[in-house]
């Protein structure tokens, strides 16, 4: 498979959550929040800062926001992570239990909360860590927690108090995981200050990284990330302040308030995520509306590209179209092009229709986190372009229809004028002459009866001539044979009267609706007249009629032929009009020295 000539599928999010699963998860989330509240209520810890409500909110909020994102579809992956975080935070909320084991599980889980939270902040809103720096930061936090926090669970008497999920101070439950008989002094003296310092540093690094991401981000990402940054700073500050206050040994109530704020920063952060996601939706909807307006006002592929570039705030955008059946990707000028590989600083977002690639938007890698938006913009512009093409086609065929209708009417009028002329110049004049001679014969009757008899006899020949003229006039107006006997007989008779040697080949004689027979007949006659006019030395004119689903006729001669570009006669336009009026098509094949063939096909509905 040659690279570049085949579509690169865009990394897609997991499918949006189905309603039954969502209801089940929501019920589970509510249950977990209730359990967390009950655990807090049953414990002996002071409830002065409404501990139970705090725990319930901390568990319920991430699950609710996560389910929203999961259901919304565009950020289903992030939503799934957030729901998972809700489960982890439930474990941490067990810290408010007075039971040694539950309390210890809660405290250990509390340390892991930080790793997940930083992952969420850096992976928002796609649910993926896109840069090496982000992955490094998460790894650093995980390393600090794994090296300096988790192992101390086995060698410490008690966990530092108070924590964000508990309100106890000196009367906290014991550490249920303690393996040693007594805690080494370096734990409290070295490790705890060290890890608190490191944790604060890592948190500050995350805040800096987030601010940096916002600075270099597109307008869409900036709007989405800013609310998260606000709460991330708040939480980092509160954690740092918490560490400092704990070291400084301030009043218990101040400490309690500080840890409460730290904990409440968690649900607040979830609200930040929610606000970011909603701002994403509003911004993209606004952009699509503006794009729709722009597309309506401007046309042309170059302007379309400019509009897409402006909407995506990426001036480097290129558009590619997929040509099926081995055509591969082509650029705006129809030149073959290859899509950039997935790991370069350019990305290709492919737009699919019924699992078939139709187009691709090639853009800066900075847009990697908003590919669903790129896809929506691309698909919208594409659909709009399709519509415009369709509308243009309809418009042009309407114009064509109007023109051909006008030409048919004009031709009919001209025909009527010709018939009127022929009737007056031929039939009427002869009758007038007859009337005069009849008058003369009547006068002559008195003086010269024998001469009058002769004259009357000659009048008979004049009547015959008038009859002859009328008959040929009538035959020229409409061939009676066509209605009575059908196309082959009518064409054969026309061929008999042609000045050129003409043979008629009929493959499957049949009758068709009269408008179809008439169109085919007059088209053949016109073609025959054209041969007589332009190729009077042609040797064989063949008219072939056949039926193969459609009625097909062919008039070919071995005359000198002509360049198709030079062909611009009323005759050809007449033939085309007649045939297209019954839904058929006319094709003329000719080149100098190769004769001319006129082929008409008319679809016949049975």
């Amino acid at each position: 498979m040659p690279t570049g000539s085949h579509p690169i599928p865009t990394a897609t999010d997991p499918p949006r959550i189905r309603l039954p699963a969502m209801v089940a998860l929501a019920a589970t989330g509510t249950l977990l929040a209730a359990v967390a509240a009950v655990v807090a209520l049953l414990g002996d810890m002071p409830h002065d800062v409404s501990l139970a409500e705090r725990q319930a909110v901390t568990v319920a909020t991430p699950i609710a926001v996560g389910l929203y994102a999961w259901r919304e579809g565009t950020h289903a992956r992030f939503g799934r992570l957030l729901v998972l975080a809700g489960g982890a935070w439930f474990l941490a909320a067990l810290s408010s239990s007075s039971n040694d084991v539950l309390y210890s599980i809660g405290r250990v889980s509390g340390w892991t909360v930080e790793v997940g939270l930083i992952y969420l902040i850096l992976a928002f809103p796609s649910g993926r860590l896109t840069t090496r720096l982000d992955r490094g930061l998460v790894a650093a936090v995980a390393a600090v927690v794994a090296a300096l926090f988790l192992p101390t669970a086995l060698i410490t008497d008690s966990y530092p108090a108070p924590s964000q999920f508990s309100t106890c101070f000196s009367d906290c439950p014991d550490n249920a995981f303690m393996l040693l008989s007594s805690e080494p002094s370096w734990v409290d003296g070295v490790i705890v200050p060290l890890r608190e310092l490191l944790a604060a540093l890592v948190l500050i690094a995350v805040v800096v990284r987030l601010a940096d991401r916002i600075r270099g981000a597109t307008r869409l990402m900036r709007r989405t990330l800013t609310p998260v940054l606000f709460f991330a700073i708040l939480r980092t500050l509160s954690i740092a302040v918490g560490f400092a206050l704990r070291r400084a040994g301030v009043d218990d109530s101040v400490l309690a308030a500080s840890t409460a704020v730290t904990e409440l920063c968690l649900p607040a952060m979830c609200i930040g995520f929610l606000v970011g996601l909603i701002r994403w939706r509003i911004y993209t909807a606004d952009c699509l509306v503006a794009l729709a307006h722009g597309l309506r006002r401007r046309s042309g592929p170059e302007q379309r590209r400019d509009l897409i570039a402006a909407t995506l705030t990426d001036p480097t955008v290129e558009l590619a179209s997929w040509r099926p059946a081995g055509g591969g990707w082509v650029d705006a000028d129809g030149q073959p092009m290859s899509l950039p590989p997935e790991s370069s600083d350019r990305l290709a977002t492919v737009i699919f229709e019924d699992d078939e690639p139709v187009a691709a938007v090639v853009h800066d890698a900075a847009l990697s986190e908003q590919r669903s938006f790129v896809e929506a913009v691309g698909a919208y512009a594409l659909v709009w372009d399709d519509n415009r093409r369709l509308a243009a086609r309809v418009e042009s065929s309407l114009t064509e229809l109007r023109e051909s209708r006008a030409r048919i009417l004009a031709a009919a009028d001209e025909e009527r004028r010709r018939i009127e002329r022929d009737l007056h110049d031929g039939g009427q004049q002869r009758l007038v002459a007859l009337r005069i001679r009849l008058e003369l014969a009547e006068e002559m009757m008195k003086q010269d009866p024998a001469g009058a008899g002769n004259m009357l006899h000659r009048l008979g020949s004049d009547v015959d001539a008038a009859l002859d003229e009328l008959r040929s006039l009538a035959a020229g107006v409409y061939p009676s044979l066509l209605a009575a006997r059908g196309l082959p007989d009518a064409i054969r008779t026309a061929a008999l009267q042609s000045p050129l040697p003409t043979t008629v080949e009929v493959d499957g004689a049949d009758r068709y609706p009269s408008e179809i027979e008439t169109a085919a007949y007059f088209c053949c006659i016109e073609a025959l007249q054209n041969v007589a006019k332009h190729a009077p030395d042609a040797n064989a004119v063949v008219i072939a009629l056949s039926r193969n689903g459609d009625l097909r006729f062919e008039v070919r001669d071995d005359g000198p032929g002509f360049r198709l570009d030079d062909a611009a006669g009323d005759g050809l336009v007449n033939m085309r009009d007649r045939i297209s009026a019954v839904g058929g098509q006319l094709e003329i094949r000719s080149s100098p020295g190769a004769g001319t063939t006129v082929v008409g096909t008319i679809p016949v509905r049975d």
């Binding site: 035959a475 044979l481 007989d489 054969r492 009267q497």
Partner: protein
């Protein structure tokens, strides 16, 4: 005994004219006149005509009712002769009329009407089992064919061409001899020569000869 004739013509003026013309001939007995084919067929049992003189174009479709009537009678009443009066000089009509046999069939252009002799003689020929084709039709065919270089007609002598035209009208050998002022023997000689040159099978039956000749010309 007079020939029993039934007239079918939708135009009242022409019908009355024809009626007068034919009534004046003692050899004919006009038993009925009709304005359309259907009522004619209804009464054909009662009228027992020898020959039907019909317009080609009549209601309901105003196309080729006369020829269809002849076609119908060929099956149901083969003994009735049909003379079709037509305003069309196009050969396919004639070929259609003769398609299922040329005996007892005639095709005359309407302009022959004024010549009572020609009309009565055509009715007489058809009543006796022969066929009559208007000379104008044969003229159209011969003219169209003699233009083509490769047509076998080009090999015919002018005299043979005259004989061919007479033959195609349904004339008997002696009638051809009369109209061309030839001996009957000379006419037979010309006819044999024509048949050889055109590759047609010779036939004594004048009706069959008409059809063969017309088919050849119309090809």
């Amino acid at each position: 005994m007079a020939i029993r004739v039934v007239l079918a013509e939708d135009s009242l003026i022409v019908r009355e004219g024809l009626h007068q013309l034919l009534t004046a001939s003692p050899s004919l007995d006009v038993v009925a006149t009709y304005g359309d084919v259907e009522s004619l067929l209804d009464q054909v049992e009662r009228d027992r005509p020898d020959v039907i003189l019909t317009d080609i174009r009549m209601p309901p479709s105003n196309t080729d009712e006369g020829i269809r009537l002849a076609d119908h009678l060929r099956e149901s009443r083969p003994s009735i002769g049909v003379v079709v009066l037509s305003q069309y000089a196009e050969p396919p009509y004639v070929l259609a009329l003769l398609e299922r046999g040329s005996d007892r069939r005639g095709y005359l252009l309407k302009e022959r009407i004024h010549d009572r002799g020609q009309l009565v003689s055509a009715i007489d020929t058809v009543a006796r089992g022969g066929s009559v084709i208007d000379p104008k039709i044969v003229e159209v065919l011969v003219e169209a064919n003699s233009g083509a270089e490769r047509s076998p007609l080009a090999e015919l002598t002018p005299r043979e061409r005259d004989v061919l035209a007479e033959m195609a009208q349904g004339k008997s050998n002696s009638a051809i001899a009369d109209s061309l002022v030839l001996t009957k023997r000379a006419v037979e000689k010309h006819i044999n020569s024509i048949f050889t040159k055109l590759g047609l099978a010779g036939s004594e039956d004048v009706s069959k000869r008409v059809k063969a000749t017309l088919m050849f010309l119309a090809e």
